[in-house]
Each structure stands twice: as structure tokens, then as C-alpha cells.
């Protein structure tokens, strides 16, 4: 019993770790898409900021400096996306794709030139990483049945960015649904003409939304390189930006459901690792690839309208042309 319980706890613990960057990136995507800008470049922004965070942390020796630069780099890319799609009304998908591909190459080229380690950044020691925090009384309370281990294994022992990611979700909900900025943001994604008629700048609102997304992606990237791992490696985001995009759709562009979708996808990932080579009685070995593919499969099925309906913000994907 307690063995199974502990396994479940450890899987959930891994779920939390894997879901963190997904949640941050998906919230970034939520801001962008709610404002009417499709952001396929989540992946590229995360990768660039992971590289920036790992490089700066390695050189300066502080994870916070890495985080700061990561956010700046990610915001710069977000502004590039805005410049192309909002100012010049370029295709949002093409722009996002360009950012992803550009970053994929640039991180390796710069890493090679700066660190001479085949595109990797130097391995970080514990001083230049975000380390796990043991919450108060985790050891003492561990003896309490059920709740003790949950507190010790699942809730305590993560790094600060994990707690930040989970704190961001209610904040995003509050900003999007309870503030003036949020109301305008949602309006500009549904009906930019109405927002324009009301005398607000569609362009400014969309840039602001992208900037918020830039900050969140920067944190996600820093988490991947300086908290979850201890250096930058080639293509280390490995499609997490796209999974975040899928989670955004799966959660129907609402913060809390998006977070649940991220946790579901993170859980599947954690499960795939745990089930590697395990033979389940009566079923046999479940191919890991099948579990890995499930998030994508679920998203395709959802998008096809077989389970519920995913309706994106009405104006997303279209540049706004002001009438004269």
C-alpha cells in the first residue's frame, strides 16, 4: 500500500516539475491569443531565454541575473513578433515559425562561439541555480499518515519558480477577468474594431499583451535551464512550447482549465518516464511512444470537435487594419 502511495506521490511530484514551464508558457500564449495574436513562437522564446539564463548564470554565478537577462531576451523576441505582425501586419504563424527556427540555430552558434563546448553552456554549480526549497516543518510532519508525505514530497521541496508558476495562474485569471486591462485585452481579441471605436489603441494593447507573454516565457526558459536542469543543451525545450500551445487550446483559453491541461500533459510525460519497460498485468507493456503522443492526439480530437468544442478568440490570427 505505502509503496504504491509513494510511487503515486513521486509521479505527481514529477508532474509538477514538468508542468511548470508548460504553465508559464501557456499563460504567455493565453495573453497573446486573448489579444488576437497567435503566438507559435513560445517555443523559440523559451529556448532563447533558457540559453540566456544558462549563459549569464554560468558567467555571473547568480541565477537571478540569469533570470533577468532571460526575461529581457524573451521580451525582445516578443517585440520582434509584435513588430512583424502588429506593426507590419505580417503573417503571425510565419513570424512565430521564423523566431523558432532562428533561435534554434542562433543558440547553438552563439554557445559554440562563447563557450567552446559543442553548443552547450558550462554546467552550473548549485550557487548559480534555483535550488529546491524545503518548506517549514516538512521533516517533522512527514510522520503524519497520508498528509505528511503529501506535504513533504509533493508540496515542499520545489524551487521558487515552481511556486511562482502556480501563483501566476490565479493572477492571470484576476488580470484577465477582473481588471480593466483584462476586459480590454479580451475585447481586442474578439472585436478590435469596437475597441478602436471606443478610442483605445489596438496596437498598444496587443504589444502589451505580447510583453506580458515575453516575461512569462522568459521565466519558463530560465526554469528549464537553471532550475530543472543545470546547463543549456541543444534544443532543450524539445517541443514544450508546442505542448503549451496544445494545452492552451485544450484549456479553451481560460487560465484555470489551461493549468489543468498543462498538469494533465505533464502527468502523461511523467507517466511515460515511469512506465518505461513496466509490464502491466493483463495489458502488457504500454509503448512509451503512445503515452508521449497522447497530448497531441487529445488536442487533435478536441479541435475536431469530438470532445467539446474549442473556439478561439474571434480576431486571433488576423492583423488589425484601421479604417480610414
Amino acid at each position: 500500500m505505502s509503496d504504491i502511495f509513494l510511487t503515486v506521490l513521486l509521479t505527481l511530484d514529477a508532474t509538477v516539475r514538468v508542468s511548470t514551464p508548460l504553465i508559464l508558457a501557456a499563460m504567455a500564449g493565453l495573453f497573446a491569443e486573448r489579444s488576437g495574436v497567435v503566438d507559435i513562437g513560445l517555443e523559440g522564446k523559451m529556448l532563447a531565454s533558457a540559453f540566456a539564463a544558462a549563459s549569464v548564470a554560468a558567467v555571473v554565478g547568480s541565477p537571478w541575473a540569469g533570470l533577468g537577462v532571460a526575461v529581457i531576451v524573451s521580451c525582445a523576441l516578443a517585440m520582434l513578433h509584435g513588430f512583424a505582425t502588429i506593426t507590419h501586419r505580417g503573417d503571425q504563424i510565419v513570424s512565430g515559425m521564423a523566431i523558432n527556427i532562428l533561435v534554434g540555430g542562433l543558440t547553438i552558434i552563439l554557445g559554440l562561439a562563447w563557450f567552446h563546448q559543442g553548443g552547450l553552456t558550462p554546467a552550473l554549480n548549485n550557487d548559480s541555480r534555483f535550488l529546491s526549497i524545503t518548506l517549514p516543518y516538512a521533516e517533522q510532519l512527514a510522520y503524519i499518515p497520508v498528509l505528511g508525505p503529501i506535504y513533504k514530497e509533493l508540496i515542499s521541496g520545489h524551487n521558487i519558480l515552481v511556486y511562482l508558476a502556480f501563483a501566476v495562474v490565479p493572477m492571470v485569471w484576476w488580470v484577465v477577468f477582473r481588471t480593466r486591462f483584462g476586459l480590454r485585452l479580451r475585447a481586442v481579441g474578439e472585436n478590435p474594431t469596437a475597441v478602436d471605436t471606443a478610442g483605445l489603441s489596438v496596437i498598444k494593447l496587443r504589444y502589451k499583451a505580447l510583453l506580458v507573454g515575453g516575461v512569462l516565457c522568459g521565466v519558463a526558459g530560465a526554469y528549464i535551464a537553471t532550475a530543472h536542469n543545470a546547463q543549456f543543451t541543444r534544443d532543450m525545450t524539445a517541443g514544450q512550447g508546442y505542448i503549451a500551445l496544445a494545452a492552451l487550446i485544450f484549456g479553451k483559453w481560460r487560465p484555470l482549465t489551461v493549468m489543468l491541461a498543462c498538469l494533465l500533459f505533464g502527468f502523461l510525460d511523467a507517466l511515460a518516464v515511469r512506465l518505461q519497460g513496466v509490464i502491466i498485468p493483463g495489458i502488457g507493456e504500454i509503448p512509451v511512444q503512445f503515452i508521449e503522443a497522447t497530448p497531441y492526439l487529445l488536442t487533435v480530437i478536441l479541435l475536431a470537435g469530438f470532445i467539446g468544442r474549442a473556439i478561439p478568440p474571434k480576431a486571433s490570427g488576423m492583423a488589425y487594419v484601421k479604417e480610414r
Binding site: 515559425m97 527556427i101 532562428l102 552558434i109 553548443g119 517541443g239 479541435l303
Partner: protein, 373 residues
């Protein structure tokens, strides 16, 4: 020259040229950032791509892949669809080609094997695009998102098939057994030797002819047939096309199947032409590279061939660069692809207002005439 012709010139020639130049200029800045002299790098790169026979062979070999994926992206673009799934379609196309060869009797001749593998690649690549196309046409899901998802699904599927089904017995690496010799697409150096010429061995094979034939066929299909007209009309103005009696759902299905099938042909060059077995990740980067090629080639087969040659040159030259100079790798080509997609795609019209203001300003007389009229 009146204003309209000037604007046409700006759109057709000046703008694309400036965009490419910007992409090149920014690449030069990247070179400068990493302390590599761009001119020296360009020399090494060009020597690697064209300096010796084997290099040329490699360059054209890579070009072939880019022609296939560039055409794939362009065909979809003409219908107003963005096929981001070339990556997955090329991969699954490889499964089609591989299965066709592995399940046929190995004693058969090349005249059975090669057409069979081509059909296998076309069908599997096309089918992998058909599902997203169907979902877009009849279930309303967005093609870009579904094709992205299908890239990942393709990767998972292929790993599963390679590890559990097709892995060569007694081998650790997930790869299929070697294709029988008579199924190989002939190497150009072998063909040349048969004709009495001797050229250095390289992976270049007759798939390049297949690519050129495809380019001609795509041109003919898009600009000389009723279907092509319907496709272009849908891409230019979907609503007008519907009024003209064109059925957009059918167009989506047909266009995406053609697009996926073309992407699938990458496997003919890579697997049937060179690797001679089904391997992992043979397709990496070509699907996305096709986007850059199509944008740079302005979605026209001729432009695509030229753009594909440029990227083939960069790919082969980049390998030489990585070999000759320390501190640089082939990923510089990926950087360049990203910049081309950025400047020729997303920022396509960045210079336009500025160019029009300076080169084709609105005539004072015309303007007042327009106002009074």
C-alpha cells in the same frame, strides 16, 4: 513609367531583393558577433559547395530535398493554407517508401521497386496530410495547429515502428534492414560511369530528376489546369471562389494531399537514393526549410528551384565551414533559414510603404482628380 508599373516593379523585384539582402546582412552581423570574418566564411562555404566534384554532388543532393519540401509548402500556400507539417509528412512518407520496398520480393527488378517506393512515399505522405485536411475542411479545426500536432505524432509513430516493428534483428540501433540492391535509386556517378564519364562518388542520385519533374508538374498543374485555377482562386479570395462555383472543402483536401505527397518524396532522395534503409530522423529540418524555400522562391517552381539551390549550397557549404573553422557549426544555415522566413515572410512588406513613398509617390494631379471625382 506610370505609377502602377512602378508599384508592380517594387512588389515583384525590388521588395524581394531588399528582403533577401536584409537577411544576408543580418547573417553577416551574426558572423561578426561570433568573430568570424563573413567574407572568409563565404569563401570557405562556396568552396565547400562548388569547389570540387564531391562537394557539388552533395550540394545538389541537399537541393533535391529542399525542392520537394519547398514545392510542398508552395502548393498549399497557393490555396491559402499553411502546411507546417512537411516535417511529419516527409518522415511518414519514408515509412511508405520503406514498407513498399521491404514487403516486395527482393528478387524483383528496379523497374518495380523504384515506382513502388515512389508511390509508397506519395501515398503515405499524402495520407499524413489528408487527416489534418479533412479536419480543417469538415470539422473546422485549424490546419496549422493540427499539422504541428501531426509532426509530433509522426515522430512518436516512427519511433514506435522503428523500435518495435522494423528494427533489424540483432541490431541495437533502431533502423530497418538494408534495402535490396536492385531497389536503390541509381547514383549519378554510377550512371555517368555507365555512359563513359567519370565523376567523384557522392550521394547525388537520380531523385534530382524526379524533383525537377515535380517542379514542372506543379507549374503545369497550378497554372495550366482547371484545378490549379480553382486552387489559386481559393487562395486569392475564398469568398469569390465560392461564388464562382468552387468547392473550398474539396480544394483543401486535394491541395493538402498533393502537398503531403510532395513532402513525402524527400524519403526517395534520402532513403532510396542514399541511406538504403529506413533510419531515424532522416527528415530533420527539411520540412521547416521548405517554408523558407517557398517564401524566398515566391511560391513559383522556378523560384523554388533557385531558392532550394541556395539552401543546398548553404547546407553543404555549412558542413565545410564547420570542418574548416573552429567555433562555428552548420547551424548557421538554420539561422539563415530563420532570417529568410522572418524577412521574406513575416516582414515581407516592411520596406513597402517607404519604397512607395520615395519611388512611386502619389501624383499631385491624380490625387486632386481623385478627390474631385
Amino acid at each position: 513609367m506610370n505609377r502602377d508599373t512602378r508599384i508592380t516593379w517594387i512588389n515583384r523585384l525590388l521588395l524581394p531583393l531588399l528582403n533577401i539582402l536584409t537577411a544576408f546582412a543580418v547573417t553577416a552581423v551574426v558572423f561578426w558577433l561570433i568573430d568570424v570574418n563573413p567574407i572568409e566564411a563565404a569563401e570557405v562555404l562556396l568552396y565547400g559547395a562548388f569547389g570540387y566534384e564531391e562537394g557539388i554532388g552533395y550540394t545538389i543532393y541537399y537541393t533535391t530535398n529542399f525542392i520537394f519540401t519547398g514545392l510542398a509548402v508552395a502548393v498549399a500556400f497557393h490555396a491559402g493554407l499553411f502546411n507546417i507539417g512537411g516535417e511529419g509528412q516527409a518522415y511518414v512518407g519514408g515509412l511508405g517508401a520503406g514498407l513498399a520496398i521491404l514487403f516486395l520480393d527482393p528478387t524483383l527488378g528496379a523497374w518495380v521497386f523504384i515506382p513502388a517506393s515512389i508511390i509508397g512515399a506519395l501515398v503515405f505522405g499524402g495520407l499524413w496530410a489528408l487527416i489534418p485536411a479533412y479536419l480543417q475542411a469538415y470539422r473546422g479545426s485549424h490546419i496549422v495547429i493540427t499539422t504541428i500536432m501531426f509532426n509530433f505524432l509522426a515522430a512518436s509513430l516512427m519511433v514506435y515502428v522503428m523500435v518495435h516493428v522494423l528494427r533489424e534483428t540483432g541490431q541495437m540501433t533502431p533502423q530497418s534492414e538494408l534495402f535490396p540492391t536492385n531497389s536503390w535509386m541509381p547514383f549519378v556517378h554510377d550512371v555517368a560511369a555507365g555512359l563513359g564519364y567519370s565523376i567523384e562518388a557522392s550521394p547525388l542520385n537520380l531523385s534530382v530528376l524526379l524533383a525537377l519533374v515535380c517542379a514542372v508538374l506543379v507549374w503545369f498543374f497550378l497554372w495550366q489546369t482547371r484545378w490549379g485555377y480553382a486552387i489559386r482562386a481559393t487562395g486569392k479570395n475564398g469568398t469569390a471562389a465560392v461564388y464562382g462555383g468552387i468547392k473550398p472543402k474539396r480544394i483543401i483536401i486535394v491541395v493538402m494531399c498533393i502537398s503531403g505527397a510532395l513532402a513525402g518524396l524527400v524519403s526517395i532522395n534520402e532513403l532510396v537514393g542514399y541511406q538504403h534503409r529506413l533510419i531515424m530522423d532522416f527528415h530533420l529540418g527539411y520540412g521547416f526549410g521548405g517554408i523558407a524555400v517557398a517564401l524566398m522562391g515566391r511560391n513559383h517552381p522556378l523560384g523554388i528551384i533557385v531558392a532550394a539551390l541556395l539552401f543546398g549550397t548553404l547546407y553543404q557549404g555549412g558542413a565545410e565551414l564547420a570542418f574548416e573553422m573552429s567555433g562555428i557549426s552548420r547551424d548557421i544555415v538554420v539561422v539563415m533559414q530563420g532570417l529568410v522566413i522572418l524577412f521574406c515572410g513575416a516582414l515581407e512588406y516592411m520596406y513597402r510603404p517607404w519604397l512607395i513613398r520615395h519611388l512611386a509617390p502619389v501624383d499631385q494631379q491624380q490625387e486632386t482628380a481623385g478627390v474631385t471625382a
